[in-house]
């Protein structure tokens, strides 16, 4: 690793893995093709893939060019659900080094397994975007991401360690404490969701601190959609440089792509991920630079060789050269979803999870509405539930207990705190056909 590390200094554009990041395109494509074939071979160890591949008479031999990836089957969140808990493993269970999870469309999380090699790859990928966005071995970074099943905290944590910088694993929440630690330990780098960066600025002002005078100079933000306006606001309020990164637990976690100093899109770690941008209706590739659904094949994952995972994230891809010298393709911010998934304070939430929580409390469906807003810097969820005779009591304590119970079920199933608003009968709009269950008032796209 020393040889890699040495490329970080005495260069106009420090890189964590210069060889991989600046590899000539043709060479990288050859590498991708080789890895894709190997991954198809590995996928045959997973019954789910083996059945489809056999049925379609597909194998490594069917992949003659990168375009042949389109002959391979897709993998969806539903497939993962059907393979719950670990049916997509390509290695014996004893080979696993870690298991993370992400929100499922119902109460159960979707589990993702990692081998020891996968974990090494993952921290290397995080190191790449962290270095591209200014992290140096002499820095200290404060991680205010959740640690746990969620991949954000641990992914960034090990990436920072890999770079050789110091980590303060404060984890999410308790903003005043975050600020006190920040003042005591002078970290130059902050890792969290973009909305939490604004909360930190707000809280600093509440504590009588000048946010621009805080020690942080660089922020690596991810885990939720944000806009260029928000970036300007964060940079202005905290006097830092803010970098965007992208990833998803189903594939590996953060580290799929991240911005360099040029900040003209996030460099995709193409030696590890083959990314397609497809029209979600026709499933045909969109012209370069046009928005489409990202479909990702994890080329090197050992534990779970995801083939053509439909991310449901809408973004654009760019192949034009970047001034930083990296030769990888770049992706835009995620500008939308092809499903109804919401990201609430960095937590992925499906409306179906809220529905499942409500179904556990008799009499609270079918008339409800999920309202998402951002009154200050943090997301707020109000679940409006229409009152009806079955759940109405003349006793205030019972009514409050009902609200608390609904809120508790939502916390259990979806992992978020929601305000429960009981509303009068027939006050939620009725729809013919599919009901509109979500009102998102945040305006998260440019």
């Amino acid at each position: 690793m020393m040889s890699v590390n040495s490329t970080m200094t005495n260069q106009a554009h420090p890189m964590w893995d210069r060889a991989a990041e600046t590899m000539p395109r043709a060479e990288r494509e050859a590498l991708q093709l080789e890895r894709l074939r190997a991954q198809v071979e590995r996928a045959r160890r997973v019954p789910f893939y083996r059945d489809i591949l056999n049925h379609r008479e597909l194998g490594p031999h069917s992949i003659r060019s990168l375009d042949d990836v389109r002959r391979l089957p897709f993998t969806t969140k539903d497939d993962m659900r059907r393979q719950h808990p670990l049916g997509l493993l390509a290695v014996p269970r004893k080979e696993l080094a870690r298991i993370h999870g992400s929100s499922g469309t119902t109460g159960k999380p979707t589990f993702v397994g990692y081998t020891a090699n996968d974990l090494q790859t993952w921290s290397d990928l995080c190191a790449r975007f962290l270095v591209a966005g200014g992290l140096r071995p002499e820095h200290t970074a404060q991680v205010a991401f959740g640690y746990g099943l969620f991949t954000g905290g641990f992914g960034l944590h090990y990436g920072i360690e890999k770079v050789g910088a110091a980590v303060i694993p404060v984890a999410a929440g308790n903003t005043r404490r975050q600020l006190e630690i920040m003042r005591d330990l002078d970290p130059e780098v902050l890792i969290c969701t973009p909305s939490y960066a604004l909360t930190i600025a707000d809280t600093a002002r509440e504590m009588g601190l000048e946010p621009r005078a805080l020690p942080i100079r660089i922020g690596h933000f991810g885990g939720e959609p944000w806009t260029e306006d928000m970036r300007r606001e964060i940079e202005e309020q905290l006097d830092i440089q803010a970098f965007n990164n992208y990833g998803l637990s189903e594939i590996i976690g953060p580290g799929v792509s991240g911005e360099c100093q040029a900040r003209t899109g996030m460099h995709i770690q193409e030696d590890h991920f083959l990314v397609e941008c497809l029209d979600p209706e026709t499933l045909e590739p969109v012209p370069e630079g046009e928005p489409g659904e990202l479909v990702i094949t994890a080329l090197t994952r050992e534990a779970m060789p995801m083939i053509r995972y439909r991310t449901r994230d809408i973004a654009r891809l760019y192949r034009d050269p970047c001034p930083c010298g990296r030769t990888t393709m770049r992706m835009s911010r995620v500008t939308g979803r092809t499903d109804d998934m919401l990201i609430i304070r960095g937590v992925n939430v499906f409306p179906s999870q809220i529905e499942e929580a409500l179904l556990r409390v008799e009499g609270t469906t079918p008339h409800y509405l999920i309202e998402v807003s951002r009154p200050g810097t943090l997301d707020e969820v109000h679940v409006k539930v229409e009152i009806h005779p079955e759940i109405f009591s003349d006793r205030m304590d019972r009514m409050q207990a009902l609200c608390e119970r609904i809120s508790r079920e939502i916390q259990t199933v979806a992992g978020i705190r929601a305000h429960v608003d009981l509303v009068e009968p027939r006050s939620i709009e009725r729809f013919v056909g599919k009901a509109k269950r979500v009102l998102d008032k945040r305006g998260l796209t440019d």
Partner: protein
Amino acid sequence: MKLQQLSLFLENRPGRLEAPLSAIAAEGINILTLSLADTAQFGILRLIVRDWEKAKRVLEQAGWVVNLTEVVAVDVLDRPGGLAEALRILEDADLNIEYMYAFSLRRGDKAILIFRFEDPDRAIQVLTEKGLHVVDGEELMSFVP
């Protein structure tokens, strides 16, 4: 001896209290007393009316969720300690009060309190035994103009 109380769910926003009251008034139903329990989000309006069956029908037809509960009206002396005495009797008998409110009219030196008990029948028995006057519906109506 028990009274029928109507409870309504209301969202806590301006003007919400007026609508159900007007709906009842429009049908010529007298409201004997009302009480509102509320939080920042919602309120529970409790009503004792002259013709509760009609009022319930009117309100339900207008779209409100109405709940029917039996409550107990008790005479207490309208002087310091009058309420405390009644409460002590109830406490000694281990009777749970879910909530209570004062009736809007007084009768001479007596105030009337409306109690919602977990077990109204036992409450009536205890109160009567201890010499308190439980006011029934007819009596209550009789002194309301």
